[in-house]
């Protein structure tokens, strides 16, 4: 299959790759760039575990063709912390016990940062509505919502 050359920025670094026309972004991120924080859950857009930020907006990397990210900017969970200093949302998840097995956590945290960027004073209902496509099978949602709520107005300091 004829490969396509793409160039994009991921977590602040420029990368060039050759990808197949039908390669999924999630597979490129995990298998070619070894950024295994993004998880492959359902593969059909139902669980949110593969969420990444594309030009600042959350998208599902299992429903994104790798070829389409040419020239764009991606942030994965690995790109949130600055050195050893965790992002406020990561701290909030830890502090509130919002992580159990951790499989959903990268997607949860990235989606939550996008929500608070759009609407820094979200109510609990707004948080639950925005996060409705990110599924967690073990922690439960109470701690997750609490963590996000505790982070309000706090993100700009990151």
């Amino acid at each position: 299959m004829k490969k396509i050359e793409i160039e994009f920025t991921i977590n602040g670094k420029k990368r060039r790759l050759s990808v197949k026309p039908n390669d999924l972004l999630i597979n490129i991120i995990r298998n070619d760039l070894f950024l295994t924080g993004s998880k492959y859950g359902c593969g059909i857009g139902e669980c949110g575990a593969c969420t990444v930020l594309l030009n600042g907006e959350p998208v599902l990397s299992c429903l994104t063709l790798a070829a389409t990210v040419d020239g764009k900017e991606i942030t994965t969970i690995e790109g949130l912390a600055i050195g050893d200093e965790l992002h406020p949302m990561q701290k909030a998840f830890l502090k509130n016990g919002a992580v159990q097995c951790g499989f959903c956590t990268p997607g949860m945290i990235l989606t939550a940062t996008a929500l608070l960027k759009e609407n820094p004073n979200s109510t609990e209902d707004e948080i639950r509505d925005y996060m409705r496509g990110n599924l967690c099978r073990c922690t439960g949602y109470i701690q997750i919502v609490k963590a996000i709520k505790s982070c309000e107005n706090n993100l700009e300091t990151s």
Binding site: G45, G48, P58, L63, T64, A67, R132, G133
Partner: protein
């Protein structure tokens, strides 16, 4: 097996040239939310993937004097952020807010939703009651088609292999401003409709001057309920027994099937209830 190819044209005309050249081999990709699961399941193989996602002229919402124009590449998220849509076509705005989740809405496009032609398509139902017109183009010709004439079966439309949707328009009018969309799913998040309804209504001097009703997931395609519309037209809004009679006619006009989400009997029954809820909200 012939491998996939990928092209990302930068203008609409380039796309039309490619469609003419490649014919059935071409597969337009917009938000990818339908195409990618199909590639994964090998329902789509050996295609030339024509990525239109960077073509700005196909994106965006504009309000002209007497109509609203939506580019086919406009995402569902963009609809939920649009004042023009919430003001001129509230029924579409309501449907966009109930669509999947905010992340999928960032990718999923209006054009992709219509061309997929699912009987459940959540953008089709409100655009039917806004009486939308699709602008369809090939390199040789342009045509305008009423959305109600676009669908011909489950996942089948009148679109020819060398054609694409280049615009979606609806009028700025009183009836289009007064609409209600209700989606009944098995749960709140990420649900495919068991049944959905859109109603647009204009009442003048207590009489139904104009009414449009459309439903999803109750027939082989999203449909307009023209028999019920004809029955309601010119009737007094509050006349005795009107709603009850209309509910029965709704149940006669729908043509549902049984599937994993619900039985045909339930869909027929609940269609009447959804009609009542939407109609009452508007009167």
């Amino acid at each position: 097996m012939v491998p996939f190819k990928y092209i990302s044209p930068k203008t609409k005309n380039e796309v039309l040239e490619i469609l003419k050249e490649e014919k059935v081999k071409a597969c337009i990709v917009a938000g990818c939310t339908n195409v990618l699961p199909n590639i994964r399941d090998k329902k789509i193989v050996s295609k030339v993937l024509v990525d239109i996602s960077d073509i700005e002229e196909l994106r965006g919402i504009s309000k002209e004097k007497d109509k609203v124009c939506i580019g086919p590449l406009t995402t569902i998220a963009e609809l939920t952020n649009s004042e023009a849509i919430s003001k001129e076509g509230e029924v579409l705005y309501q449907a966009a807010e109930q669509f999947a989740d905010p992340i999928v809405r960032n990718n999923a496009t209006v054009g992709g939703n219509l061309v997929t032609a699912s009987p459940a398509a959540d953008m089709a139902v409100p655009l039917l009651t806004l009486d939308a017109i699709l602008k369809i183009e090939s390199i040789e010709r342009k045509r305008g088609v009423r959305l109600k004439d676009f669908f011909i079966g489950p996942e089948k439309t009148i679109l020819r292999e060398d054609e694409m949707i280049t615009g979606i328009e609806f009028e700025s009018s009183n009836i289009n401003k007064n609409g209600c969309f209700i989606k009944l799913g098995l749960r709140k998040a990420m649900a495919i409709a068991v049944a959905s309804i859109a109603v647009n209504l204009e009442v003048r001097e207590n009489k139904i001057a104009q009414v449009r009703i459309a439903m999803g997931s109750v027939a082989p395609t999203p449909i307009r309920l023209t028999v019920v519309e004809g029955f309601l037209k010119n009737k007094e809004v509050n006349s005795n027994g009107l709603i009850e009679e209309a509910i029965n006619k709704v149940r006669e006009e729908v043509d549902p099937i049984s599937d994993i989400r619900a039985s045909a009997e339930y869909r027929r029954y609940v269609s009447g209830i959804l009609f009542k809820r939407a109609f009452n909200k508007l009167t």
